[in-house]
């Protein structure tokens, strides 16, 4: 039994065709996606803009209810759970976003941002300031931040350091599944590598299960164990990362590969 299973997951959006007609138009944003991910695996998800990556990730994160199909985490069908129960499960699945300038609250210090996340899993720590501070410091060190900066605000950090804070915040709830949505696209090349190394290290240390969304195939090839290619709401190809590059099967994959800028030597 796989750790995370997507069973024929489908999301259709309907909208009126025009202002003065009652005729409906259906957009099949995610159209029958089935995928399974093992514990400790990093799955890369790639595809052009508009292929349904974001809708799929919202479905997995339970931010959208599927039209049909379901998400099964550790054998439990999340769609069957009532909304109140989903709320409690949210700490089990966390997201890392593209832009660390936008995803951190500028008015919260590193301590309050991380403490908020840690106490959702360990509410007992709220009244134990020193233990909480220790937990925050430990989390900061895990992602390679100096715990001396615990009282600082996001604007006092560089882009790469901010992304580390965002990662720490996602890990603070001790999630079962992390969905990283273009986590390095906004960063410089040299910083990109630091964050990729960190994500790999965390996977190895914590046995994290991760879905890594990116349009940069070379980054995905490096970090992912398997890659799923999405096109027009469907998964058109899934393969081991290196195999996918060496023997692309679908047209969508071939097109994505041919678009990568190549370093000429």
């Amino acid at each position: 039994m796989a750790y995370l299973e997507l069973e024929n997951l489908t999301k259709h959006f309907t909208k009126r065709k025009g202002l003065f007609t009652s005729e409906l138009q259906t957009v099949r944003a995610v159209d029958g996606v089935s995928l399974s991910i093992e514990k400790g695996e990093i799955l890369g998800l790639v595809g052009e803009s508009g292929c349904g990556k974001s809708t799929l990730s919202r479905l997995i994160m339970q931010l959208l209810r599927p039209t049909s199909g379901s998400v099964v985490l550790e054998g439990e069908r999340l769609a069957d759970l009532p909304a109140s129960e989903i709320r409690k499960r949210r700490r089990d699945f966390q997201m890392i976003f593209q832009d660390p300038y936008a995803s951190l609250n500028p008015r919260m210090t590193v301590f309050s941002a991380l403490a908020e996340s840690i106490t959702t899993r360990h509410p007992g720590l709220i009244n134990n300031r020193s233990a909480l501070e220790e937990a925050v410091a430990e989390l900061m060190e895990r992602v390679g931040l100096d715990a001396r900066y615990i009282r600082k605000y996001p604007h006092e950090f560089s882009g790469g350091q901010r992304q580390r804070i965002a990662i720490a915040r996602a890990l603070g709830t001790e999630p079962k599944l992390v969905l990283a949505d273009e986590p390095v696209s906004a960063l410089d090349v040299s910083i990109q590598s630091q964050i990729l190394n960190l994500l790999r290290k965390l996977r190895d240390e914590l046995d994290l299960t991760m879905i890594f969304i990116s349009h940069d195939l070379s980054v995905v090839r490096y970090i992912a164990d398997r890659i799923a290619v999405m096109d027009e709401g469907k998964i058109v190809e899934v393969n081991e990362a290196d195999r996918l590059f060496e023997e692309p099967q679908s047209d969508a994959t071939k097109m994505l590969l041919s678009a990568i800028p190549q370093v000429r030597f």
Binding site: V189, V219, Y222, P261
Partner: protein, 326 residues
């Protein structure tokens, strides 16, 4: 005689935290029809270099302290604002990173696209409109005749960047400055936009100054590359030389950190540390603290000058950076 000759450009920002030397004595030239790249990390001064040329930096706090930018017999840095308006957007075009924020959401594409023509060429609205439609055709926007009357939000990101390119090229500039034009786009759209810039460049003979942090993009589009670090060029070379015989430690480190060139399951190479704070005086080699060969002894104690190793291949003469094993 080069089309644009920039000599010793120095721009600083006078802030509360001190004087930030964003661009510190940069020289380069652009020949007609050529593509010149400026590559470097965020905050290295790439954009400020180009914006200084067009007086697009906020003054104050910005100040162009020294230098010359010779373009068609004029020094752009000394040009009065009225004359600058005849250059900016007419003879030197600009495209920016984010087409979402650089188009006005309240105005139709048609209004925005004919504006440069009405201002710079004084032709009638209908004539400008037909030229705008032709330009949209040329950048590959389907059904241009009707689409021109749409608003920016009705276009996708890639199409908006095409509109920006059309707008920049409609006045047939001698130079197009492209500031990270594909950074906000995904990989297939990036490919289309790069190809489009190259095609239009060939058709019109425009020179392009291409600013990016992506070395792979540089290797595809540029003829000549300037690598910028901490407000200065550390290495300048033809694109083939730069990728086959990079000399400066920073250039080599940048190349090594491209994930595509690394083996899976190995820890990715990273450049340790952060770029220096430009508000403080940097006495010697700016890259020394991050250089893998950082016992410091081998690095220059005064800011190293660029020396020409072979024809058109310049590198900062810092013994530590030249010999560092990366």
């Amino acid at each position: 005689m080069a089309l644009l000759e920039v000599k010793n450009l120095t721009t600083s920002f006078h802030t509360r935290d001190g004087v930030v030397k964003a661009v510190d004595g940069v020289s380069f030239s652009v020949e007609a029809g050529e593509t010149v790249g400026i590559v470097g990390e965020s905050g290295s001064g790439k954009s400020v270099t180009c914006y200084s040329l067009l007086k697009l930096i906020p003054m104050p706090p910005g100040k162009i302290e020294a230098g010359q930018a010779l373009f068609d017999g004029m020094d752009l840095l000394q040009l009065p604002e009225a004359k600058m308006r005849g250059v900016r957007g007419k003879r030197i075009g600009l495209i920016f990173q984010d087409p979402m924020t650089s188009l006005n959401p309240y105005l139709k594409i048609s209004t925005q696209l004919i504006e440069p023509l009405l201002i710079h060429e004084g032709i009638s609205k209908s004539e400008a409109l037909s030229r705008a439609i032709a330009e949209m055709d040329a950048v590959g926007i389907p059904d241009a005749k009707n689409r021109i009357h749409s608003y920016p939000h009705e276009f996708s990101g890639g199409m908006r960047q095409r509109v920006m390119i059309a707008m920049a090229l409609i006045t047939r500039p001698d130079i197009l400055i492209a500031d990270e034009p594909t950074t906000a786009l995904d990989v297939t759209i990036q490919r289309q936009v790069l190809d489009l810039i190259k095609t239009r460049q060939k058709e019109l003979g425009t020179a392009v100054v291409f600013i990016t942090h992506d070395l792979a993009v540089v290797s595809e589009v540029c003829d000549y590359v300037n690598v910028m670090y901490a407000g200065r060029f550390v290495e300048r070379a033809g694109v083939d030389t730069l990728f086959t015989k990079p000399r400066h430690a920073y250039t080599r480190a940048l190349q090594r950190s491209i994930p595509a060139l690394q083996k899976k399951n190995e820890v990715l190479y990273t450049i340790p540390g952060l770029p220096p704070n430009l508000a403080t005086e940097i006495p010697g080699c700016a890259f020394a603290p991050r250089c893998p060969d950082s016992n410091g002894e081998a690095h220059a104690k005064t800011r190293p000058e660029l020396v020409e190793l072979e024809s058109k291949h310049w590198v900062q003469n810092c013994p530590g950076c030249l010999s560092a094993g990366i």
